[in-house]
């Protein structure tokens, strides 16, 4: 016996749900036109009516969905021009699909048949909530990207941009970044400080993690706590402390000083990730290597290091990004000669709100994505290789 759960649902259930979704969309449309309440009501009424018509009078799905797309595209175009039309097409496609997805009861198809309505509701609410969290996290980053192609010198979506007119866009802020000596100097400083700081933190952090994970080391917990403290102590306090300390010993305002400060900030990340990989590391391997005559250095490089490498690399990545993104400490420890990219962006935001900052941000986001993708691909590759080799 099969249980057919994808059965058509009553109109009295579908229409209010669709209307609620329509009201939600309507809030945004309404707010954009300075009338939230009207938008909310209008959205609910339009989508509710649409659902009612499609499910009772005109139940021909293929045509109905095209009608929905076309209808919303026209409404969107009338309300907001070309971009409004594009959003309208997306909304029309969504509601056409949503009405029949609910109306035909298709939403139950992939769920276990014994789910109660509440469980079904939670199943989909959970997905909607997750989607909204992603949306919330990513939108601010995505919004700045088109603004970096602005033809004007403000953080403003000009009417030309919204019409998708070519004269509203330009690459001049990218050009400014690549030709302006201040930005180039800052880029160069960042690129010479971050790798040096990363090397130092990876070296010290890995050694510290290995040392702290051997049981014969006394006072392991207090030492660990001290080494990790730069991550816990508010940055401004570390920065002020470093400023006065480095001033006394002549490191303030030097390249070496900034590198050391950033290395201190990066060490905790390396310690934490390497310690985590060391938990899964079998100590008997080092003893076996020693038994076969390898000295500790050889053992480390030939046996231990390859196995904990993923932890070392991801720790190094965090250390790199910490140094590359850091603005508070460098403002204190550095002098104007060590102006890094974040410092330059900070100044730019305060003194001159220029979209060049957005162009830089877009480039940095691109680099971060590339970097993370590369590391992830490498990790998968090494996992695959390890899975293929015995042991």
């Amino acid at each position: 016996m099969t249980i057919n759960i994808t059965e058509p649902k009553p109109v009295s259930f579908v229409v209010p749900v669709v209307a609620a979704a329509g009201a939600f969309l309507g809030i945004f449309v309404g707010t954009a036109h300075d009338n939230t309440l009207l938008g909310l009501l209008g959205g609910a009424v339009i989508t509710g009516l649409l659902a009612l018509i499609f499910l009772t009078i005109f139940r021909r799905e293929r045509e109905a969905r095209w009608i929905s797309v076309a209808g919303f595209a026209v409404i969107g175009y009338l309300l907001g021009g070309l971009p409004g039309g594009v959003i309208g097409i997306a909304a029309g496609w969504f509601f056409g699909w949503f009405i029949f997805w609910l109306g035909e009861g298709r939403y139950r198809a992939k769920l276990a048949p014994y789910y109660t309505p509440m469980q079904v509701l939670w199943h989909f609410s959970f997905r909607v909530i997750c989607g909204m969290i992603f949306f919330f996290l990513i939108t601010p980053i995505v919004v700045v990207m088109p603004l970096s192609f602005n033809a004007e010198n403000f953080f403003t979506f000009t009417p030309e941009m919204l019409r998708f007119a070519p004269e509203g866009y330009s690459l001049k802020h990218y050009e400014d970044f690549f030709t302006n000596s201040d930005w180039q100097q800052a880029l160069w400083n960042s690129l010479s400080i971050a790798p040096a700081a990363t090397l130092l933190s990876v070296g010290f952090g890995t050694l510290a993690a290995i040392g702290l994970s051997s049981e014969h080391v006394p006072f392991r917990r207090p030492i660990m706590a001290i080494l990790i403290s730069p991550m816990i102590v508010p940055l401004i306090i570390s920065a002020a402390g470093m400023y006065f300390f480095y001033s006394r010993i002549g490191l303030q305002g030097t390249y070496l000083g900034v590198v050391l400060a950033h290395a201190a900030l990066g060490v905790p990340f390396v310690i934490i990730t390497v310690t985590a990989t060391l938990v899964g590391f079998d100590r008997s391997l080092t003893r076996a290597a020693a038994n076969m005559g390898a000295n500790p250095v050889t053992t480390f490089f030939r046996v231990q290091m390859p196995l904990i490498l993923p932890g070392v690399i991801s720790g190094g990545l965090f250390a790199f990004i910490t140094s590359f993104d850091e603005v508070v400490v460098v403002l204190f420890v550095g002098s104007a000669g060590q102006k890094t990219l974040p410092w330059q962006m900070f100044i730019g935001l305060r003194e001159q709100i220029s979209p060049t900052i957005l162009a830089v941000a877009t480039i940095l986001v691109g680099i971060s994505i590339l970097l993370l993708t590369t590391v992830e691909l490498l990790r998968r590759r090494s996992e695959r290789l390890r899975g293929m080799s015995p042991g």
Binding site: E152, N153, F154, F155, T156, D182, Y243, F244, S247, R248, Q252, G253, S335, A336, G337, I347, G348, L349, R350, E351, Q352, I353
Partner: protein, 370 residues
């Protein structure tokens, strides 16, 4: 006779400077300024010509003028002076001078006389508000408004009290997030004559009166903290009316071509200039003095006005102010000191503010939080 003397003196000075430059001057200078278009004008008008004459010198810029007082205190406490020359507002210069963090100078001794021989102290006149302060420009806090606001029915604001008139000029306005100027403007629009403003503001009742006037527009105010805020807000149509430095508005209107106009009524003057940090090493001090002698002379100050619409601090520079370097427009009408713009201007009383600042700051901040 006087002319010959001056000539002799100038020659002697420049010979002395020339002789010193070979051995005793540092080749690196860290200059602290405000960033943005203002710093750019200093680069163009002072530093580039100076480096053309002294190719060995390299200049590093630090855009830290906004926190110059705090940072100089920290450098002093840490015993690690990294700045050579600092651009600050007059009020900050006074504080730094009182605290002994800025060097006291004899203006006639270290600065060039005017071309006609008038000594520097007379040429700068009242602008020298502190023994440590070497004036550079006069700027003003003034208002800009959008020219395309439908709700105003064709009216344009032309006096300060229009800022407080929400009926004729509805819409958001941006004001600076500190009591300076806002309190003065509020009292002026509450019927206090300009010359009595500071007397009234000294009393707690007067302060409450100013805040009560600000209360009438508080819901419609966006508070700014950085000079770049108001231009951005105006360009964005977030506000229709806003106060900021006049040079920022000039750039917004003339260089960026935005539909915005100036309202000069009751603009509030302030000064900006150099201070030399106390305790510079001898070779660095020699370089800074050499640079300052050049960068504050009559021609250099007039040159700066080619790039930004701030008034040169020397009287002798005013006739030399010409056209904008790129736009080719006459700069004189855009100067805050232009007689037409200055008809109802007032000078912010920094001496008074130095005494009342802490009190009023906290009162203003708690009013903001209400």
């Amino acid at each position: 006779m006087k002319m010959t003397k001056t000539l002799l003196a100038t020659t002697a000075l420049s010979v002395a400077a020339g002789a010193a430059s070979a051995q005793d001057m540092a080749d690196e200078m860290t200059i602290v300024s405000w960033g943005g278009a203002y710093q750019e004008s200093q680069v163009k008008a002072y530093v580039e010509p100076y480096i053309a004459n002294n190719p060995d010198v390299s200049v590093t810029w630090d855009e830290s003028s906004a926190e110059a007082v705090a940072k100089l205190r920290a450098q002093n406490e840490a015993g690690n002076l990294t700045w050579d020359l600092v651009d600050v507002t007059a009020a900050d210069a006074m504080r730094l001078c009182d605290e002994g963090l800025a060097m006291e100078v004899d203006h006639d001794e270290i600065l060039a006389p005017a071309p006609d021989g008038t000594p520097a102290s007379e040429d700068f006149g009242d602008m020298i508000v502190s023994d440590c302060f070497i004036p550079q420009i006069a700027y003003s806090y003034t208002f800009g408004y959008r020219t395309d606001v439908d709700a105003w029915n064709g009216n344009t604001p032309d006096e300060i009290c229009d800022v407080f008139d929400l009926e004729t000029f509805p819409g958001k306005r941006s004001l600076e997030q500190r009591p300076h100027n806002n309190m003065e403007w509020a009292l002026m629009c509450d019927g206090v004559p300009q010359e009595d403003v500071y007397d009234v503001l000294e009393t707690p009742e007067g302060q409450d009166r100013a805040l009560a006037k600000l209360d009438t527009i508080k819901d419609e105010v966006v508070w700014w903290t950085s000079g770049a805020d108001t231009p951005q807000l105006l360009a964005d149509k977030e506000v229709v009316f806003g106060s900021t430095y006049n040079g920022r508005l000039f750039s917004l209107i003339e260089e960026q071509d935005q539909p915005v106009a100036m309202m000069w009524d009751a603009q509030s003057y302030d000064l900006d200039g150099w201070i030399i940090p106390e305790g510079l090493e001898e070779d660095k001090l020699a370089r800074v003095l050499d640079f300052l002698y050049f960068a504050t002379d009559t021609q250099r100050l007039a040159d700066q006005a080619k790039y930004i619409s701030y008034g040169p601090a020397r009287q002798s520079s005013a006739p030399l102010v010409g056209e904008h370097a790129e736009l080719g427009i006459d700069m004189a009408p855009h100067m805050p000191t232009n007689p037409e713009n200055a008809s109802n201007a007032f000078v912010m009383n920094y001496v008074w503010w130095a005494d009342y600042r802490d009190d009023l700051d906290s009162k203003f901040q708690s009013w903001l939080a209400r």
